[in-house]
Each structure stands twice: as C-alpha cells, then as structure tokens.
Amino acid sequence: MVRAENMPETTSNRAHERRYETGELVRRLLGLAWQFRKDCVQALALGLALLLLALAGLQLLGIVVDVIRHALDPSQRAPAYPFGWTPPASWTPLQAVTVLSLAIVAQALLRAVLTYQYNMVTARLTQGKIVPDLRARLYAKLQRLSFRFFDAHGSSSIFNRVTGDVQNTRLFVDGVVLQGINMLLTLVAYLIFMWRIHPSLTAACLSVTVGLWWVTHYYSGRLRPGYQQNRELYDDLVLLFTESVRGMQTVKGFAAEPHQVRRFERANDRVSDQQRKIFRDLSVFTPATQLLSQLSLVILFAYGGWLYVQGQIPLGGGLVVFAGLLQQFNGQVANITTIANSVQQSFTAARRVFEVLDTPLEVENKPRALVPSRLRGRVAFEGVTFGYLAGENVLQEVSFEAAPGQVIGIFGLTGAGKTTLLSLIPRFYDPQGGRILADGKDLRDLEIDAYRRQIGTVYQESFLFSNTVSANIAFGNPHATREQIERAARVASAHDFILSLPHGYETVLGESGVDLSGGQRQRLALARALLLEPPVLILDDPTASVDPKTEHEIISALREAMGGRTTFVVANRLSLLRRADVILVLEKGRLAHLGRHDDLARKPGPYRETALLQLMDLAEDGDESEPAKLRKRESRETTQPIMNSEARR
C-alpha cells in the first residue's frame, strides 16, 4: 500500500489504541450476552437439567448397590431412597433393582438427548449468531474507515480483528458467562449433595480441593506469559522462513545462504529453549494436580471408610456416590482457571474489536446532504489548509480553479503534498481551513457516495483483485453490461491485450491466475476508473513504477481517456505534465507556481531543474548542451498555440 509521504508514521500498533476500562469492557460484553438472552437462558436451563440428571444417575447407582447388599444381608444398612420415597412393599428386591437399572438407562438416554440439545443451542448461539453478526458489523465499519486507520494498524492486525479477535470476544458469552454460571451451579449442587451425605467428610476432602485450586491458579499465571512469548518467538521464526523463501533469489545472489542459515538456527534455538522452560513448569503442574486429586480420594477412603465402619454412612449411597461426586467436583475446579483465562483472552480481543467499532468516521454526510446531478467538472480549491495531525499542516492556503475538461498537472518534490491534495478531492478528508467546491457547491454539502461515483481514480500501483478481468473493470458497478465494460477497456487501450489473454475477459488475475505487466495493470485500472464515465479523473503518478516503453503505452491510453474530463494528474515526468492546461507546482505544501509548461520551464525552480534533467536524458548523442537547445528555443519563441483539451480530441 503506497501512502502519502507525509502521513504520520507509527512505529507500534499500540500508538492509536483507545484505552478501555475493565468495567466498560465487562458492561459491553455482558450487553452482548444480553442481546441474545433467550438463547443464553435456554442453554443455562439445559445445563441445569443435565446437572440434575448426572446427580440422579449417581444416586441411582448407589441405591442399587445398597439394595442388593441389603437384600443379601439384612443386617446391612437399609438403602436410603431420596425424598423419602420407598418402593411399594410388594416389590421384591430384584424388582426394585430392575426398576432402578431401567431408570439408570433412561437417565443415560435422556442425558444424551439433552447434551445434544445443549451443544446445538450453544453452537447456534455462538457460531451461528454472535460471530457472524460481529464480523459483518466489523467489516462494514472497516469499509468506511479512513485510510489513516489502515496505515496505523497494519493489514495483519486488521485481519486478525475480524477473524481471531471476534472469536475470542464471543468466548466471553459462552466461555465465561455460560460456563461460569454452569460451573457455579455444578459446584454448589455437588457441594450440597456431599454435605448431605456427611458434612465433616466433605470438609476434609475439600481441604485438598482448595490446594488444588491454588496450584492451578499459580501455574497458569506462570504458563500464560510463557505461551505468549513462545508464540512471538515462533512467529519470528516463521517470518524469517517466509522471507527467505520469498527473497531466495536475493539470498542466493549475494551468497548469503550461510548467513541466513545461521540466523534461522539462532531463531530455532530460541524457540526450543523457551519451550523447555514451559515444559518444566507444565510437567510439575499436571502431576501436582493429579497428586492432590488422588490425595482427596485417599482421605475419602480412610475417613469415609472409618465413618462407614461407624455406621454413619451407607456404602453405596454413601461412599460410592461420594467418590463419584468428589471426582466431578475436582474436575470442575480446573475449569475455574480455564474461565479466568477466557476472561483475559476475551478482554484483550474485545478491546481490539470495540476499537474498530468505536473509531469515528473521518467524513460523514451532513443531514439532508445534496445528491448532485451529473457534474460538469468545475473544481475549485479556496484557501485550503490541511494536515493529518493537528498543528502539522501538509497543505497551506492552496487556491486554484479547474474548468470543466481541463487537465491539471501537479508537480512537486517528495513530501510537497501532491498525494494529499489529490485525496482531498474525493473528500477522503476534510480540510481544516478553506473549502473545496465542485460545480460551485461545497463538498461538505454533497452526498459523499453520489459525489465519489463521479470521480475515477488511478493510483500509482493500482490494486487489482484476484478476480476476472471483467469483474475488476466492473468494480464500480457490478451490474455493468458487457458493452459498457468493453467500451471502457477500449478507451483505456486495454481491449486488445485483454483479448489476447488465455480466457479473454474471463481470465482470472492473481496468484494462481495470470500475472500482468505493469503497463497492462495500469490500463486495467484506467478502464476501471472510466467505466462509470466520470466527469472527473484523478491520476496519482500512474507511470511511476514502469519502464519507459510501458509509460509510452499508458500515456497514449491516457490521451483518449482524459478527453472531456477534468483531470488531475500527479507526475514527475514531463511526458505527462506537458499536456496539462495548468500545472500546479507545490513546494512544502504551498502553491509556488501555477502555469503552463513553457512558462514554468523558464522560471528558475524545481520544475525547470527537472525539465533540464529529463531533457538531458534524451539528448542527442554527443551534444550535452541540451540546456543550450532549450535556451535556443526560447529565443525563437513563436506564438505556437499550446495544445489544449479541445484540440486534443
């Protein structure tokens, strides 16, 4: 992406980041969940139902064990049915067992069905609703943001915002809110049930659980920055690799293979060394959690066994169930840390997502903005002053007027403000001082899109999409007819080479498509600009990066294209400028000179200097005194009319 030379450079992505308070983030994210509250409630209800089923299953199993034992040995404790329910006395133990077994199976089936429901509800909510909606909103906003935003943040950051960051933002809804509430309910429920079996046993086992939680918390605090650093190191490694492949010709051409290999090895070693640090922590952390879980089981059996011997708790309904509950409880504890991490992740991502949504638009329509009819093409700058940053003006008090159909050349050294001036014409920015008029109306009064459709633009290195040639030309109007497309291509002198392509107008450009030469690309860009037959044409140094032969092609194409349109052309080559009706010479943001080529070539200044240099380039052999020729011509100046736009046609 080529930027204006004066656009402020940012060295880090954080330079423009808005500060978001945690409270605000939480509020907005909760608001996101609230937006879809019906689905959230549904998910929570299903989660609760599943929880109850799980508990029921455990209970049933415990009861079966007790029923059987009691039947075999009536001296054993009688099974404790929940809710004081007792099976009818007419049932034999076997019948009771049968019923209970069937109940277990039924519970299992019901659980499967509800689990399916739960997962589908969650998936539809997150991937089917939240994520697409957020992404579409982000994208729509991005399409309208100023170029300044894109240059400040870099394309991969913006790409990640729409992709990964949106997913992590949505994580707040399911990973934090839903999971959090679910986990809370689960923990409470299990706690209650364990307590009901025996309070002090619960207390004893849970003492270990607290330790478990602490260990998890501690280690994830250590591991998280480690993982982050590792990602960065790995990204560096991949970047080095990618660059070496892309620039392999350069690498080989300078016999720099050993150098690159050394750099790669170093980066590779860095990644591995850092991984080893992570491994050390990880391989202590996981066994530690296992140790603690098992410890709680030991306590369970030692103390619980003693309680059973004392007759305080049943075997099946007591110990076995308790063991199952404890296992589940410990499993949930690990979830706490996962949820905490999800919170962090979602906050980081949400900041980046909200930043895009909150960035104000650079230019907006006034209420009741005027939709212009077809412009005649009279453009005027009245005392325009503009700067990207406050206090640093790139353009100062620039005033000029372009009559309809005129060709306005813009010349200046690097940093003089040429591209900036051009970007004010389609109103990509508003000037701080002065105003810009189109057909006598202030741009700020016009409806932006309708106005911009009347301007065709060709940039220095025109961006073409990986699409068919006709789709690229029809970019401004996807519904353009074939005739319209071909007409634009003909005017841009592109029609012939397009027909020579493998599939003509349906040839696909891009990485796996056809690669075009610089001149062909620019001519396509020109055709694209001409499709809507705009009354105003903007050309930002269209021949900057092409060789002279291609330049020649482009200029011939331009000749026809410029007919009847008000054209603004930035150029360093006299080949383009000498055809202009008026040339604006910019010096450090000010309009230093204004006039036709011959007038300017006579006045001392950068224009004359450049003219001389470029003429020397074409001087006839041996005769280095091209300047002399110029002076010779000046002396026999005739009233030869300068070609103007009417005569060009």
């Binding site: 399409q143 032969k549 380039d617």
Partner: protein
C-alpha cells in the same frame, strides 16, 4: 481439536477442498451475486490430502529423528508402560478397599490399604512427571531438528524449484507438516502405548473378577469403535466444508484490507459489506454443521458407560439375588467394575483418535520427506572449485573499484522448458571493467541472460565463462560472493536499513555502510528518515517509498565490492533530481567493474561500452550507441521510440 473450540480450522487454511454442496454453489452461480464477489472462487482447487495410510518405512524414518535422543526415548517407552499399569491398579485398589476392609469394617485394614494407595500415588506422580517431561522434550527436539534440516535443504535448491513450487505449500511444510510429525512422535506412539496397556490391565483385572460381566463389556467395544470412526469421518467432511468457506472469507477479507483505497474510491462499501455478510453467515452455518456432527456422536459415546453400568447393575442384582452357582456374581464386582470400566472403554476412543492423528501425521511426513529428498534440477558439479577473487588482501573501500572480471557467453542456448527456446546462439565478450547494456522488448531475453550469468540456471547449450573459466566448474557461492545485483523486485528483509544494506557482508561496520552511501550520494536522503539508518523495514518494506527501497538495494549491491554488477533498471521510482545524483554516483562506482545493465534510460545506453540489442532471444545488433544509431537498424528504431515516448519538448526537431 481446536476446530470445534474456536470455530476455525486448525492451522493455516492453506488449501481448500472439493465440495459437492449444491446449496452453496447455487448461491454463487447466480449472475449478480458472483459479480459482487471480490475474489474469484474456484470450488475445485487441487488439494493436498489430509490422510495417508500407515506405512512402516515412513514411521521408521520419522523415528530416526529420535535417534540422537535414544536414551530419552527408551526411558519414555518404559515410563509409558509403567503408567499404563498404574492407573488401573490404583482403581483396582480402590475397589479392593471398598469391597475388603471397608465392607468388612476392618479399620486397621482400611489404614493399611490407604497407606499402600498413597505409596502407589506417589510413584505414579513421579512417573507421570518424567513421562510428560521427556515426551515434550523429545517432541520439541525432533521438531527443532526437522526445521533446521528443512531450511538447510531449501537453501541448496536451485531457483527453478522456487519458481515452480507454490509459496503457500512450502510454508505449510514448515508449519503444519512438521507439527503433525511432532505430534505423532511425541503423542501418538506413547499415548497409544499407555492406552493399550491400561486397557489390557483393566481387562485382565475385570476378567479375573467376573468374566461373564466382562464378556458383556467386550460386546460393546466394536460398537464404540464403529461409532467413533463414523463420527470422525463425518466431522472431517464437515471440516472440509468449513475450510472452504474459511478460504473464501479470508481471501475476501485480506483483499478488502489491501484494496481499501480502491474500495472507497469506487464506492463499493455497501456492496462488499452485503456480500461479506452472506459469507460469514455461510461460514457460521458450516461451523454449526461441525458442532452438529460432534453433538450427535459424542453423547452417544459418553452414554456407553452409563448404559453399561445400568446393565451391570441389573445383571449383578440378578446374579447376586437369583443365580447361584456358576452365574453367581458378587455385588462387590459392581463396585469394582464401576471404577475400572472407564479404563477399558476410554482407550477405545482415544486409540481411535490417535489412529486418525497418525494418518494425518503420515500425510504430513510424506510431504516433508518429499521435500527433504527433492533432487535439485542441477547442482554444482562435485569437482567445481572456487572462483578466486582478483584483488589483494584486505577490503578496499567502495570508491576504489577492484578489477572487473572478464565475462563471455559462448554460443549459449537456453530453454526453461524443452522445446521453447528463450535464448539462441548468444555470444559476446565483456572485457574487464566494461559496461554492457542489454536492450530489447519485454520477453526478448534480457533478464534470462543476466540470470545465466549469475548461474541461477545452466545453459542448455554453450558455455558461460567468467575469467576464462566455465561456470559449470565454478561453485555458485564463490561466484555470487563476487557479484552484486539489483533486481526488479527490490526485495528487503525485516530489520533495520543498516542490516539490509550489509546483508551480504554482515561483518561490515556502520562506517563502511555510510561511506558506500556517501559514494552513491544518497546518504543524506536515508539519514533524513525518522530513525535514519536504524529505521525498521516492515512488512514487505511498506513503510519506505519505492525510490528509497531502490537506493538501499543499490547500496547493498555495492557494499560487497563486486567485480561483476548486474542491474535491472526497469523501475525508476525516484524523482528526477535524486535520479540524476544517483546516475552520476553510479558512473563513478561502476568504473572498473564489469557491469550488465538491463537498460531503459538513454543516458545509460549512451555511456555503455557495448550495447546488445535482443529480439526474441537473439542478439540482432551490437556495438556502441553511436555506431548503432548510424546503422539505422533495429536499434535506431528503438531509440526513436524512447525519444517519442519521452518528454520531448522541442517541437519540430524531434518530429
């Protein structure tokens, strides 16, 4: 699997897959909607396969990477076996405790069992620690070595490889393919062992206790296996759909970001936004599709243990209460099976998943080894020797040029592909210190000639000689060490300007760099940047203008004090004033060096010692500018084109 968690396909969505999704295709076959698309979408792109069958030779080869770490690996095998043993034994112990001392109300027994349990747990934890540590270390070591080997291999391959291989493919070798082999080495083998041992031990224990109950369990195993495989197949089908929409989405997004200026200039915001909304909705649907596959199968699999317990409860009830004799079952068996059952069922699933992982690793490994084994189209001959530099010891400053090398092309023919000649019968001599300008239309062979000179390719016929020596017998890197080139694409690496300029000579001091820049008369231009020579060159050198990039490339080429200079003048993005300075400086710097310039500027051509005019791969004219102009042939015609296309301001004299 990260796919279902994050909703995005794991790894880079480098390749898309075929899909026969009629709904999707119809949305995009309608004329208007296709027109709204930013990128052209091909539903049938060639795709690299996800799976490859298990192959013992390949597996053995992957494991050779563990040979330097043999002791670690062997310990790991022992530890995983031990671990596989420990967990079921622990579960068995619990069951024993419940059925034994607890049921028998033996407090002393309870404490004893608890003590044994604790000891076992301690052993298990230690085992687990080492097992995990060693596995991770092994995996990382293997990945490290593979990355290193791959990079080295790449640097030995000739340019023809890079010209014909897709960039994205090379990258995914390094990232996803190496990763899947790492996972295979680190996880698949060892996890499979743990699971297999666990399953065996649990099976033995349960069978010993009650083989009737156990045979019931056995019946469920094939069912689980079938369901698991079905599930994985369905999920991977859904995943392919997902990858396809992801590919559309990401390419549209990427090009939207890159083409934002064009988008706003042509008022495409609304159309693009509407189209993108359709894309994300489609992608969301596919995501839900993946979730659906998971949501159907996973509960089915989870249900197994519950179902089994229900059945067991019933049977043991029957067995305990009704049946006597041969079908008698202890209620304690139920308790035991409750703890051991999962150790038997879970491995079925886990091994199933590991199997699929192994298949992926096979595919990745195959691709990786194909690259490692790639035979370069050509290599420096084994007897090739170094091209000796001509100048004396010690580096000279760039001002004092070293004696240039004599270069000669002797009846050289070249074709990139057989039957399509690009160069025919090229012969010329460039004496040391001469400047040779190559002119001709695009495609006439200019770039190919300098490419052959740099030994990026070998001539099909004829010889290229430097200092009288056939390049075929010269090592490529000794040749490159004496050449400096500035190509069309002005490629710069991430890093500071300083680092880029001394790319070929990293040991050069900052002072040497400065003096080179001074000699090129552009030091002030670069030092005027915000951070001067320390300015970081970013993603694709985007923060520099084209002109600045070119200057850096010039400096880079000249810092090495080359005897041969290759220069492609195609771009001229510098403003005329700077360009003039550069031209003057270059003139001085190139003195004494043999230079080959693909020339576009008249001033360059005029000053060249030898001008070669190329047309369709042949030299049609040669000589100095004056001679050729006077001859009035092809060159004279070209010259007129140059002049006409340029800024001729004087009217009638140039017609």
């Amino acid at each position: 699997m990260s796919a279902s968690a994050s909703g995005e396909p794991a790894g880079k969505p480098a390749d898309t897959g075929k899909t026969a999704n009629p709904v999707k295709d119809s949305v995009f076959s309608a004329h208007d909607q296709a027109r709204e698309a930013i990128t052209y979408f091909r539903p049938l792109e060639e795709r690299e396969s996800d799976y490859a069958p298990l192959n013992m030779r390949l597996i053995r080869r992957m494991f050779t990477y563990t040979r330097p770490y043999a002791s670690r690996r062997n310990w790991l095998f022992a530890l995983t076996a031990a671990r596989g043993l420990q967990l079921p034994v622990l579960a068995w112990l619990i069951g024993q405790t419940i059925n034994g001392p607890i049921a028998g109300r033996n407090l002393g027994g309870i404490l004893l069992y608890a003590g044994v349990y604790l000891a076992l747990v301690a052993a298990m934890v230690v085992t687990f620690h080492f097992r995990q540590l060693l596995a991770l270390q092994l995996g990382e070591a293997v990945a490290h070595d593979m990355r290193s080997e791959m990079f080295r291999k790449l640097t030995t391959l000739p340019m023809s490889f890079f010209n014909k291989t897709k960039f994205g493919r090379i990258i995914s070798r390094m990232t996803s393919d190496i990763d899947s082999v790492r996972v295979a080495v680190q996880d698949v083998a060892f996890v499979a062992i743990v699971q297999a041992v666990q399953m065996t031990v649990a099976a033995l224990l349960m069978a010993w206790y009650n083989w009737k109950l156990f045979s019931l369990m056995l019946l469920m195993v094939p069912v689980i296996w079938v369901i698991n495989q079905h599930y994985r197949r369905e999920v991977s089908h859904q995943l392919r759909n997902l990858q396809e929409t992801w590919s559309r989405l990401s390419s549209t997004l990427a090009e939207s970001v890159g083409g934002i200026r064009v988008t706003q200039a042509f008022v495409r915001q609304e159309i693009n936004a509407g189209f993108f909304r359709k894309l994300v909705n489609m992608h969301g649907e596919n995501n839900v599709g993946v979730a659906h596959a998971t949501a159907v199968f996973l509960p089915l699999l989870q249900m197994k243990s519950q179902l089994f317990l229900g059945a067991t409860a019933f049977l043991s009830g029957y067995g305990a209460l009704r049946w006597q004799g041969s079908l008698h079952m202890e209620v304690g068996d139920l308790v035991m099976f409750f703890f051991l059952a999962n150790f038997f069922f879970d491995p079925v699933q886990v091994i199933g998943n590991q199997y699929n992982q192994a298949l992926t690793a096979m595919a990745g490994g195959e691709r990786f080894f194909r690259l490692i084994d790639a035979v370069p189209d050509w290599e420096d001959a084994p007897e090739a020797t170094r091209l000796m530099p001509n100048h004396s010891q010690g580096r000279k400053t760039p001002d004092s040029a070293s004696a240039g090398a004599r270069c000669e092309f002797e009846s050289v023919d070249f074709e990139y592909q057989p039957g399509r000649p690009v160069l025919s019968d090229i012969s010329f001599v460039a004496e040391p210190g001469q400047t040779v300008a190559l002119v001709g239309h695009t495609g006439s062979g200019k770039t190919t000639i300098v490419s052959l000179l740099q030994k990026f390719h070998l001539p099909t016929r004829g010889r290229v000689l430097v200092e009288g020596r056939d390049l075929a017998g010269v090592t490529s890197d000794s040749l490159h060490a004496q050449m400096g080139s500035v190509q069309q694409n002005n490629f710069l690496f991430a890093g500071s300007l300083l680092d880029n300029i001394r790319f070929a000579r990293p040991e050069a001091s900052a002072e040497e760099v400065r003096s080179t820049l001074r000699a090129l008369d552009c030091l002030d231009l670069l030092e005027a940047l915000p951070r001067g020579l320390e300015t970081q060159v970013g993603e694709r050198s985007a923060s520099l203008s084209l002109g600045q990039r070119q200057l850096i490339c010039f400096a880079r080429a000249l810092l090495v004090d080359p005897r041969i200079v290759v220069l492609d003048e195609a771009t001229s993005a510098i403003d005329s004033v700077t360009e003039a300075r550069l031209q003057r400086a270059l003139e001085a710097l190139l003195r004494g060096r043999t230079s080959f310039i693909v020339a576009h500027r008249l001033s360059t051509i005029r000053r060249a010692d030898l001008v070669l005019v190329l047309e369709q791969g042949r030299i049609v004219e040669r000589g100095t500018h004056q001679v050729l102009l006077a001859a009035g042939g092809v060159y004279a015609r070209l010259h007129e084109e140059f002049v006409r296309g340029g800024a001729a301001t004087t009217g009638p004299e140039f017609g």
